[in-house]
Point group: C4
């Protein structure tokens, strides 16, 4: 099993999970005051955007990882499968948050979102550190500085999501704002690796 | 990150967003006068066709752009991610228009459709002009005439959709007709670049 | 635009349209007599199978065509886009037939299915004959016998579906049986081209 | 038809079928006691996980098979199409089990799940043994030990699922536990082939 085949499946899951998010956005069927209903549903669009960007950034990072990897073994493939299982699950808590951001269910929705993203970050860390530990699956021509940079960057992912999830126990609104902020942060942060010089295609 | 990986994700999002449009077409479950119900639902099929063609043309143009690009950097990837987020959103306003073309919600539906397509055109322009400005990411062997042609062609996209969206404030029916006409126009217009001589595969 | 990019989009639409068919299969939520409900819903599975095989065979034929083609032009890409629009539409009439096979809506459902498949066959013929006429887009090393064989095989597609659709006006049951028989026939028939010797990958 | 094209379609179906499973997970819309509702719905997540892993493992095995295959003929492609039709069907019985794990419909749901997986295993065996019998489609440089290993491993698949399905006639709970155990077993078991040395990508 070369990295190429693993990428095909992963690319599919990333693209489908992100695009399926739109199915979770409710289409109002009452026609009176439709404009108001569409505007009032802003949490649906915000949840869509945050989850789309979160999945998109993970897709970028997934490829950044695979570019450093020269070999794939069974354990790595199973770890990747568990990571994909988490990614594909994201539309569910996204819809929960979108539906319940302004009612009594907000805490439960935020907790579910947080637990899902924390588990996803744990799987991502397992996926990467399994490959990187002792350079187990790292390509021979990979740049050690990039490997260290990725490791330094991914280590805090799960704790950050874990803390935001705990915050949801007290203030669900704040936790949801944190999830959005983390997505934004990763958009900026991912630049520290890919920043470099443009690569010829 | 080479253009190849970016294309894989983008191809997935384009194909999935277009194919998901069919989920928005309501299947009538009453059996009496089903024929009438199926015919009466023509706005559903029209909305499906216009959005499918719109996404399809954007897919063609996306590839036309990437063929000119030799290098990819982080900012470009993030711009592409935002473009994908817009494309994947199209099934939502499509369904809104299909449901409300003949009731009081038509204006709100047409405005939502227009705002989505205008934002998509803005993201597409940002995606292209970021790459094309000072030939930042343009391949060395790209034809300057093609680059100029693309730039000349994409510049009016956002204003055109913006004007059609403003029209929806007064006459929603006319705006919807404009969205269909723009899709048709782009089918014809995209030929001015791809027209040329057939390319060997 | 090389054939490669066109295939990526087409492969995506074929695979997604076929896989989305399962969303149309209703999951009964009442728990009493669930076994009976599951068995009673056999038209849902039959419709799923017929449409899945129909889309699958068209995918095989689409690739058989593209293997003969060395060049792609704008008109061909637009014809392909219309073909994809028909393929992605198939889940809608499939669900209609599955729901109404045994009630008053059967004729309307069968007609809708037939019209969709007839249009799809027309688009497929346009797609192929545009490329094949005067060898417009045919690869130089393509086997003229294969080209002729494909042309002879695709010419009757639209008329066959058209006749089955007309039959639905009188006997919807017979028309539905014909749609299933045509799918089966194409499974066997497609062998006349691919039969040959196995090809090395 | 080279194995490459067959893989593209298959990869698409595997990734989409797995990712579509999330659509089957019900999002509660009542806001009071949402936390309880989310926790109470654990069979939905368990069913999601078992089916996701089952489809994922089949994807791994599908590629393990194709790596041994040097040639593709029409019959093989049709067998692959039937296999894909089974894989894409899995979200339906998954949802049935998730909904009815704790009510009177459990037996019917478990039977439907079991029949689907048994049929899938039969199609998988047909797919593999058609290629492997007398090395019909096996690549010339394939390792005979790997071929034998795959054959030894796939032979019991259908009987195992068949037995678990029969168990559902008496104890649906036990059958469902067996389906989960089989998925887990295949995660471990698939290692016996891919285990070996890591392969360079």
């Amino acid at each position: 099993m070369e990295t190429g085949r693993l990428e095909t499946f992963a690319d599919g899951v990333f693209a489908i999970a992100a695009t399926l998010l739109i199915i979770g956005v409710t289409v109002p069927d009452r026609s009176t005051a439709l404009g108001h209903a569409v505007l009032h549903a802003w949490p649906e669009y915000a949840a869509y955007a945050v989850s789309f960007v979160t999945i998109g950034i993970m897709w970028l990072n997934h490829h950044l990882c695979l570019r450093q990897i020269g070999a794939v073994d069974r354990t790595f493939m199973v770890l990747n499968l568990f990571l994909m299982m988490c990614i594909a699950f994201v539309p569910f808590p996204t819809k929960l948050v979108a539906l319940h951001l302004r009612d009594d269910g907000e805490r439960a929705a935020a907790l579910t979102y947080g637990v899902t993203l924390t588990l996803t970050a744990v799987c991502f860390a397992a996926f990467w550190f399994y490959a990187a530990r002792n350079n187990r699956l790292i390509a021979e021509d990979a740049d050690p500085m990039v490997i260290k940079g990725i490791s330094r960057s991914y280590a805090p992912g799960a704790p950050i999501y874990g803390v935001a999830t705990l915050v949801a126990l007290w203030e669900a609104n704040v936790a949801v704002a944190l999830f959005a902020a983390i997505a934004l942060f990763y958009v900026v942060e991912s630049s520290f690796f890919a920043r470099a010089r443009p690569k010829r295609g």
